[in-house]
C-alpha cells in the first residue's frame, strides 16, 4: 500500500524524470539486443532494425508501463483539474456566488458545531473520563447540581463507594495582574482535583492534597490562557502574583493548554485551594466552607475499582438519608418538609455545565437551522450548476457523440464540483470565525466567551465531511442529468432548451430549497414571536424606569455592622435628590438567579395534602420598596421603619403575595393572620404577584421580610417624572461614592437585568432570524438563476409571442407564474415540514403555538413575495425583448 502511494506520488511529482528513465531503459534494451544480434553475425544497422522489429511498438510498451503505474488515472485527474480551474477562473461571478453560499452554509455549521461540541458533546480531556460521575442532590421535584461544602465533607467521609471524590465551585471576580484588570472565572478546588483528573502541569506544579492538609491560603494555579494573555507566557511566572478582588495569591503553576476545567462554558482562569477561596468568597463569617445551607460546590468522583454503577447508586440512595440526619438541621430548611432528597450519580465524563443545562436545547435547535442553511446552499449550487450545465449541454452532447465515456464526463463534472466545494470548505472555515464574531457583535453577549469559535480536530473533521457532502449533493445530480441526455435529441433541438424531464428535476431541487427556507422562516418567526411575547409579558413590576445598584461592602472591608448605616445614608441622599421620585432597598426581581428551592412555611389550620408544595420564595423589602417597583399593595399596609429589626433578631411581621394568600387563606382576608416560618409571624399586607427569577415561569408563593439593613441587597430607585434612568444611575453612583468612597457598586437599569434573564431567548431569536434570512437569500439566488435561464432559453418563444401581439404585462405575468408555481410547490412541501419541525422547538417557545396559523400564513406569504421578487428582473427583461432581434438570432 505504502509502496503504491510512493510510486503514485512519484508519478505525480516527478513525472518528467520518470519519462526520461523510461526512455533510457527501453533504449538500453534495444541497444543490448542489437549488440547481441551483432555478435551473432548481423551487421550493425540490420541488428538495430531487427531489435526494433522483435520488440514491437515502443510507444505502446511505454503507454502500458505508464498504465501499470496508474498514470492514466493521474493524467485524467490533472486534465480535469486544469479544466475545472479554467472554468472556475473564467466564470468569476458564478464562482463567487457558489463559493460564498457554500462558505456561509459551511461556516455557519462549523460555528454552531464548535459550540455544540465544546459545550455538549466533548469529553473532558482528562484521564479516563468515562469513569467520572457527577454527584447531584435531588430535592424533589428539583435537582441541585451543587451542594454545600459541609455536605460534601459528610459525603466524602461517610460514603465509601468512591476511590476519589473531588469538587469545585467558583464565581467571576475582578482579577488584577500588574496594572491589568479583567473579570476572571475563579475555581476553588479540592486538593485531589488535579490528581484525580490526571492533569499534568504545563509549568511549575498544580494543587495537591498536601496543600489542602496544610490549609494553604496564599497560592494559586493559573490557566494556560491566562499565562499567555496576562503574563505573556513568561517562563518565570511561578512566584509572581495575581490579585482577586482584594486578596493576593502567588502563582505556583500553570495548567496545560487542553485543560479548561470541569465546567464547559465557565473556563477558570485561576484555581485556588479551598481555604484560599475563603479570602475571596462573599461570605466571610461563617465562611463559605462552613455554611451548611449554601449550595455552591459541584461534586464529582471516580468509583472505587470494583463497585458497579448500579450498586453505587443503590448504596448512595440508601445511605445518604441516614447520614443527612446527622447534618445540622438548619441546612434542611431550604427544602420543603414534603420533599425527599437523595443523591444520584450521573455521567460526569463531559463535566458539569450550568451553561449546558440552559443552552443545550437551544444549541441543538440552532444546529438544525444551520443544517437546513447548508442544504439550501447545496441546492442553490446544484441549481446554478444545473443551469450552467444546461448551457453546456450541446458541448457535452458533442463530446459524448465523439466517444467520450459517460463515466469520464461525470468524473470531469465532479472534479469541478469538488473544486468548488473545497474552495467553499476552506472559505467556510475562515468564515466560521468571522461569522461568530459578527454574530457576537449583533447578539451583544460579550460576557459569553463560550460562544466564540474554536477550531479543533472535530471541527476540521466536520468541515471535511461537509465539503464532501456539498460536492456530492450539488454535483452528482446535475452531473448525472447532464450526461444522461441523449445526444441525438439535444443536437436536433435547435435552442438547447431544457426538455420536460430535466426541467422537472431542476424544479424539484428548487422547490425543496424553497420548502427548507420556509421551515427556517417559520422557525425565525416563532422565535421572534416568543421574544416579543416575553418582552411584553408583565413581570408584575415596573421594569422600564427603575434602576438598581448593588454595593459590595465586603470587597471594601467595611464591617457588616456598619453596612446598614451606609445604605441608609445613601438612601437618604437619593430621597433628597429632586431627580429621584423614590428609593428603597430589597431583593430585586430578575437580579438574582434561580437557586431552585424555597423555604418551608406553615399556616395553622391548613391541612397539607400529600406531596403538596409547602415552600415559599423569600424576599426582603424596605419601606417604600413596593412603591418604587410599582407593585400594588392590595390589602393591609406597607412595612414601616419600626418593622425593621436589628441584625440577628427575628422579624415579627411579613407581607405575602396574592398567590400565597389564595393558597392558604382562600376567601379570607389574610391580614392579621399568622404564618409560621420557624416562628409564627403576623401578616400585615398582601401585594400582587411578581415574577422573580424568570418571565417564563409561573408565579410562586412569596414572602417578604422587612429588611434589617444589613449586607449587600440591591438599592432600587425610580426617577422623577421626565427624568431618564441614565440620570438616576449617575445619581446613585454619586450617592454611594459620597457615603463610602471605594465601594464597588454594580448599577444598571432593571430592564437590563430583565434582558439578561432573556438572553437565551434573544440569542435564539436573533440567530434564527439571521439564518432564516440567509436561507431565503440563498434560495432566491437559486430561483433567480433558474428563472433567468428559463427566460433566456425561451427567448424565441417569447419573441414570437410579442410579435403576434402579446403585451409586456402578459409576458411578465407568464414569467412570474412560472416562479410562483415552484414557490407554491415549495410552500406545499414546506408547511408540513415546518409544522413537524416546530413541534420539536415547542419547549423554547413562549405563549405561541408551534403551529400558530398567522405565523404559518405570514411565512408562506413572505415566501411568495420572495418568489415574485426573484423573478421580477428576468420577467422585466423578457417583456422588453425586441421581437425582431430575437427572431433573427440562431
Amino acid at each position: 500500500m505504502l509502496a503504491r502511494l510512493r510510486s503514485l506520488a512519484r508519478m505525480v511529482f516527478r513525472r518528467s524524470a520518470y519519462e526520461e528513465e523510461l526512455r533510457e531503459e527501453l533504449e538500453f534494451h534495444l541497444n543490448e539486443r542489437a549488440s547481441h544480434l551483432a555478435d551473432a553475425g548481423l551487421d550493425r544497422r540490420e541488428a538495430h532494425r531487427r531489435a526494433r522489429v522483435e520488440f514491437g511498438g515502443v510507444e505502446r510498451a511505454k503507454e502500458r508501463c505508464r498504465d501499470a503505474r496508474g498514470a492514466r488515472w493521474i493524467d485524467e485527474l490533472s486534465r480535469n483539474v486544469v479544466c475545472a480551474l479554467r472554468s472556475v477562473r473564467k466564470n468569476p461571478g458564478f464562482t463567487a456566488v457558489a463559493v460564498i453560499s457554500l462558505a456561509l452554509g459551511i461556516g455557519a455549521n462549523l460555528a454552531v458545531f464548535s459550540v455544540l461540541h465544546r459545550l455538549v458533546l466533548a469529553k473532558l480531556p482528562v484521564r479516563d473520563p468515562d469513569h467520572i460521575y457527577q454527584v447531584n442532590l435531588i430535592a424533589t421535584p428539583t435537582k441541585l447540581y451543587a451542594m454545600s461544602y459541609p455536605r460534601f465533607e459528610l459525603l466524602r467521609d461517610n460514603v465509601k463507594i468512591f476511590s476519589s471524590l473531588f469538587g469545585w465551585g467558583g464565581y467571576t471576580y475582578e482579577l488584577t495582574v500588574g496594572d491589568r484588570r479583567q473579570p476572571a472565572q475563579v475555581a476553588a478546588v479540592t486538593g485531589n482535583y488535579f490528581d484525580t483528573l490526571g492533569v499534568r502541569p504545563a509549568l511549575g506544579r498544580l494543587l495537591s492534597p498536601q496543600d489542602e492538609q496544610a490549609r494553604a491560603t496564599q497560592i494559586a494555579v493559573i490557566s494556560y490562557g491566562l499565562w499567555q494573555t496576562a503574563f505573556g507566557g513568561d517562563p518565570a511566572v511561578v512566584g509572581r502574583n495575581v490579585t482577586l478582588a482584594d486578596a493576593t495569591f502567588a502563582v505556583v503553576g500553570v495548567t496545560p493548554p487542553e485543560f479548561n476545567g470541569t465546567e464547559p462554558g465557565a473556563v477558570p482562569a485561576v484555581y485556588l485551594p479551598l481555604h484560599g477561596y475563603e479570602r475571596v468568597a462573599p461570605a466571610r463569617a461563617p465562611t463559605i466552607l462552613q455554611r451548611p445551607g449554601m449550595s455552591w460546590f459541584h461534586v464529582m468522583g471516580r468509583l472505587a475499582g470494583d463497585v458497579p454503577l448500579a450498586t453505587a447508586q443503590a448504596m448512595l440512595r440508601e445511605q445518604w438519608p441516614r447520614i443527612e440526619k446527622s447534618f445540622p438541621a438548619q441546612a434542611n430548611l431550604q427544602f420543603g418538609r414534603n420533599t425527599r432528597y437523595f443523591m444520584v450519580l450521573e455521567d460526569g465524563s463531559r463535566g458539569y455545565s450550568a451553561v449546558r443545562q440552559e443552552f443545550s436545547q437551544a444549541i441543538l435547535v440552532l444546529m438544525g437551522l444551520v443544517a437546513a442553511v447548508f442544504l439550501i446552499a447545496c441546492a442553490n449550487l446544484a441549481t446554478l450548476l444545473f443551469v450552467r450545465g444546461a448551457g453546456r449541454l450541446r458541448e457535452m452532447s458533442i463530446r459524448f457523440a465523439l466517444g467520450a465515456s459517460r463515466a469520464h464526463l461525470v468524473r470531469q463534472w465532479m472534479t469541478e464540483c469538488v473544486l468548488l466545494s473545497m474552495l467553499g470548505g476552506v472559505a467556510g472555515l475562515i468564515a466560521a470565525r468571522w461569522l461568530t464574531d459578527l454574530l457576537l457583535y449583533f447578539v451583544a453577549e460579550a460576557d459569553r466567551p463560550w460562544l466564540r469559535f474554536q477550531a479543533g480536530p472535530m471541527v476540521a473533521l466536520l468541515s471535511i465531511a461537509l465539503t464532501v457532502a456539498a460536492a456530492l449533493l450539488c454535483g452528482l445530480l446535475p452531473a448525472l442529468r447532464a450526461t444522461t441526455a441523449r445526444p441525438e435529441e439535444t443536437l436536433r433541438s435547435q435552442s438547447g432548451a431544457l426538455t420536460a424531464r430535466r426541467g422537472f428535476v431542476a424544479q424539484g431541487v428548487l422547490a425543496g430549497q424553497l420548502a427548507t427556507s420556509l421551515v427556517l422562516v417559520v422557525g425565525a418567526a416563532l422565535f421572534s414571536r416568543t421574544m416579543w411575547n416575553l418582552n411584553s409579558v408583565s413581570g408584575g413590576f415596573d421594569r422600564k424606569a427603575v434602576v438598581y445598584g448593588i454595593p459590595d461592602f465586603d470587597a471594601a472591608h467595611i464591617p457588616r455592622d456598619r453596612q446598614g448605616d451606609l445604605v441608609k445614608e445613601a438612601l437618604e441622599r437619593l430621597d433628597r435628590s429632586p431627580l429621584i421620585a423614590a428609593a428603597s432597598m430589597g431583593s430585586t426581581p430578575m437580579v438574582f438567579g434561580d437557586s431552585g428551592s424555597g423555604w418551608v412555611i406553615g399556616v395553622a389550620g391548613y391541612e397539607l395534602a400529600a406531596g403538596e408544595d409547602n415552600t415559599a420564595w423569600v424576599n426582603i423589602a424596605s419601606p417604600g420598596y413596593f412603591n418604587v417597583l410599582g407593585i400594588p399593595l392590595i390589602a393591609g399596609r406597607d412595612f414601616e421603619e419600626r418593622d425593621r429589626t436589628a441584625a440577628g433578631t427575628r422579624t415579627k411581621v411579613i407581607i405575602i403575595n396574592e398567590k400565597l394568600a389564595r393558597h392558604y387563606f382562600a376567601g379570607r382576608n389574610p391580614v392579621g393572620e399568622k404564618l409560621t416560618y420557624g416562628t409564627p409571624m403576623e401578616i400585615i399586607g398582601v401585594v400582587t404577584d411578581t415574577k422573580n427569577t424568570s418571565l417564563r415561569a409561573g408565579h410562586r408563593d412569596l414572602v417578604y421580610f422587612p429588611s434589617s439593613l444589613v449586607g449587600s441587597n440591591p438599592v432600587v430607585a425610580r426617577p422623577a417624572a421626565g427624568v431618564a434612568p441614565r440620570v438616576v444611575e449617575a445619581e446613585m453612583r454619586a450617592a454611594f461614592a459620597a457615603v463610602a468612597k471605594d465601594v464597588p457598586v454594580k448599577i444598571a437599569p432593571l430592564e437590563e437585568a430583565v434582558q439578561r434573564s432573556l438572553s437565551r431567548d434573544r440569542l435564539v431569536a436573533q440567530l434564527s432570524a439571521a439564518f432564516g434570512l440567509l436561507g431565503i437569500l440563498l434560495a432566491s439566488i437559486g430561483l433567480y438563476a433558474a428563472i433567468a435561464h428559463s427566460v433566456s432559453s425561451r427567448t424565441r418563444e417569447i419573441g414570437i409571442r410579442l410579435a403576434i401581439g402579446a403585451k409586456a404585462r402578459d409576458v411578465i405575468r407568464m414569467v412570474l407564474r412560472e416562479s410562483l408555481r415552484v414557490t407554491a410547490i415549495g410552500v406545499m412541501i414546506g408547511l408540513p415540514l415546518a409544522m413537524a419541525g416546530s413541534r420539536l422547538i415547542s419547549a423554547l417557545l413562549f405563549e405561541v403555538s408551534p403551529s400558530d396559523p398567522p405565523t404559518l400564513v405570514i411565512s408562506a406569504l413572505f415566501l411568495a413575495l420572495t418568489g415574485i421578487a426573484a423573478a421580477w428582473w428576468p420577467a422585466r427583461r423578457a417583456s422588453r425583448l425586441d421581437p425582431s432581434t430575437t427572431l433573427r438570432c440562431e
Partner: protein
Amino acid sequence: MRKQAELLPGTLDLLILKAVSLDRQHGYGVLLRIEQITGGALTVEQNALYPALHRLEHQGLLTSEWGVSDNNRRAKYYRLTAAGRRRLGEAVDSWNRLVAAMSAAIKTRTKEA
C-alpha cells in the same frame, strides 16, 4: 530448435520474480535469464516485459536502481524487495500445488482411457 511452450497467463510475474531472485538484473538480463533457466523452453514477449516490471515495482515487489552494465552502459537494475521475496515463495507454493493437482488429474484420466 526446441519446442517452445506457451506462457500461461499470470506466470510472467512468477518468472520475473524468480529471474531477479538470485541477483539484480536489468530488463534485458531478465529476458536472458528466463530463457536460460527454462532451458529456452519459455520465451517472454519483449513488449510485455517492461509493463510487467513496472507493475511489480509499483506494487512494491521489486525495487530498481541505476547501475552500469557489463559493457559499460547505464542500465536500470531490478531486485527483489522483502515483499517480493515473500510473494515469490507464495507463488511457487501455489504453482507447485497446481502442478501436483493437474498432474494427478491428467494421470487419472490416462488410466481410465
